[in-house]
């Protein structure tokens, strides 16, 4: 099925950056579509959010859902599809998804980060069949089972501690004896009797038969030392990366694959903007992404109005002429 619909703004991703941008854009009457396979992104997978100003406590799902409802209230449309590529056609972008082609005057890339893959045999084959990247999502399906958590950072140790309350036994597999997790988290995990730590160890293969049955682990200090652990689940918690291979040649990326933006969320390609964790912004936080999303939407509003040769009526503090015709002063909206 292929149909063309034209939007002022097409947003790729529905985390805090994308949803906030949608709220700001639709309040400025930009016809806006969000294309995303999930709502909330990493935010939705966070159990406890205690640092979003004005909200003392929220679970990530409720905060995500509230942002989505707020965006919908002002007319944001949603398509649960995956964006495959973006092409320029005349002065429009054609955004090609697994299901549709959309036309848009501007595009905001706000698809955040994706869990990093381990890259071992069996990982892909058993993904969703015992191999998982989200303890809070899939943890409850492993009640009284045996699982392994791979990694040594906050997300890994948090996952291990959380899983130790559900699973019979939790193995933590880490490449060093150094843990990047905060000491308070680490102490909590070390206090759990059913967590066993394997340091200087790596998984070499995930084995199974339809579902995960075991892992093969090897010592990094003594290569010949191998062991097989019988288990039901492998939780891979080794951080996140920007999934941007599909954007090579479309916008400039840095060495880490993050989208390079200026302070106003402008990318190397005119008409394409980026905000939130998928950009080269240093700090990855919900409140920062929300702020970046708002900033991007204002910049996009200015851009859309400018390309029509009109002047944006600023409601954000700075008064600046945009577009080529500096004498024009046409009021766009009330």
């Amino acid at each position: 099925m292929s149909e063309k619909k034209q939007y002022d703004l097409l947003i790729v991703g529905a985390g805090p950056a994308g949803l906030t941008a949608a709220i700001y854009a639709t309040r400025r009457k930009l016809k806006t579509l969000i294309v995303s396979m999930t709502i909330g992104g990493q935010m939705a997978q966070t159990n406890e959010i205690e640092n979003y100003p004005g909200i003392d406590f929220s679970d990530g799902l409720s905060l995500s859902d509230n942002m989505k409802k707020q965006a919908e209230k002002y007319g944001t449309e949603f398509a649960f599809e995956e964006v495959l590529n973006i092409r320029k056609k005349n002065d429009l972008f054609i955004v090609h998804t697994n299901n549709n082609d959309y036309e848009a005057k501007s595009v905001l890339l706000a698809f955040g980060l994706t869990p990093r893959k381990l890259g071992v045999t069996g990982e892909q084959e058993f993904s969703g069949r015992g191999v998982t990247y989200c303890a809070t999502c899939d943890g409850p399906l492993f009640k009284n089972k045996t699982v392994a958590v791979v990694g040594g950072g906050n997300s890994a140790i948090e996952a291990a501690e959380y899983l130790s309350k559900l699973a019979k036994k939790v193995y933590v597999i880490n490449r060093t004896d150094q843990f990047r997790a905060t000491p308070i988290l680490l102490d909590k995990a070390r206090g759990q009797k059913n967590i066993e730590f394997y340091c200087f160890t790596a998984i070499t293969e995930i084995k199974g038969d339809g579902v995960v049955k075991s892992i093969e682990i090897a010592s990094l200090q003594n290569e010949t030392k191998k062991e097989e652990i019988i288990l039901d689940g492998v939780f891979i918690e080794i951080g996140y990366q920007a999934k941007t291979e599909w954007l090579k040649g479309t916008v400039d990326l840095n060495k880490r694959g993050e989208i390079i933006t200026d302070r106003d969320c402008v990318t190397s390609t005119e008409g394409i903007f980026a905000a939130g964790d998928c950009t080269d912004t240093q700090y990855k936080q919900i409140v920062i992404s929300a702020g970046e999303g708002a900033k991007a939407a204002l910049q996009i509003y200015k851009y859309i109005v400018g390309r029509e040769g009109k002047v944006a009526i600023p409601d954000w503090g700075v008064c600046e002429l945009v577009g080529t015709d500096k004498t024009a002063n046409i009021k766009i909206e009330k």
Binding site: A44, F80, G128, R129, T132, D138, G210, V212
Partner: protein, 106 residues
């Protein structure tokens, strides 16, 4: 046809003994992506009419069935035909792709 609520108790009769295609959405209330999948499955049920049976199964309430079909990430959607598994899909699926798959089997 309306969405069917599948459980451990009725799974044998409603799915395994059924003739024709049956789509089962394995979900839980605490699962974010499941909340996106839910309304899509509901629409699929309406669109398919009596050409396919479409419904959902709560993995917390019907653990036996979820374990039997090795559901380890949710949402997992399984299409059955004449009681046999035809396809297992993990993660959110679009309305169009589900309708296409069910239509082929109908």
């Amino acid at each position: 046809m309306n969405e069917v609520i599948f459980t451990d108790a009725n799974f044998e009769a409603e799915v395994l003994q059924a003739s024709g295609p049956v789509l089962v959405d394995f979900y839980a209330d605490w699962c974010g992506p499941c909340k996106m999948q839910g309304p899509i499955v509901h629409e699929v049920a309406e669109s398919m009419g009596d050409k396919a049976k479409v419904g959902k199964l709560n993995v917390d309430e019907s653990q036996e069935t979820a374990q039997k079909f090795s559901v380890m990430s949710i949402p997992t959607l399984i299409i059955f035909k004449d009681g046999k598994v035809v396809e297992t899909m993990v993660g959110v699926q679009t309305k169009d792709s589900l309708i296409e798959k069910l239509t082929k089997l109908a």
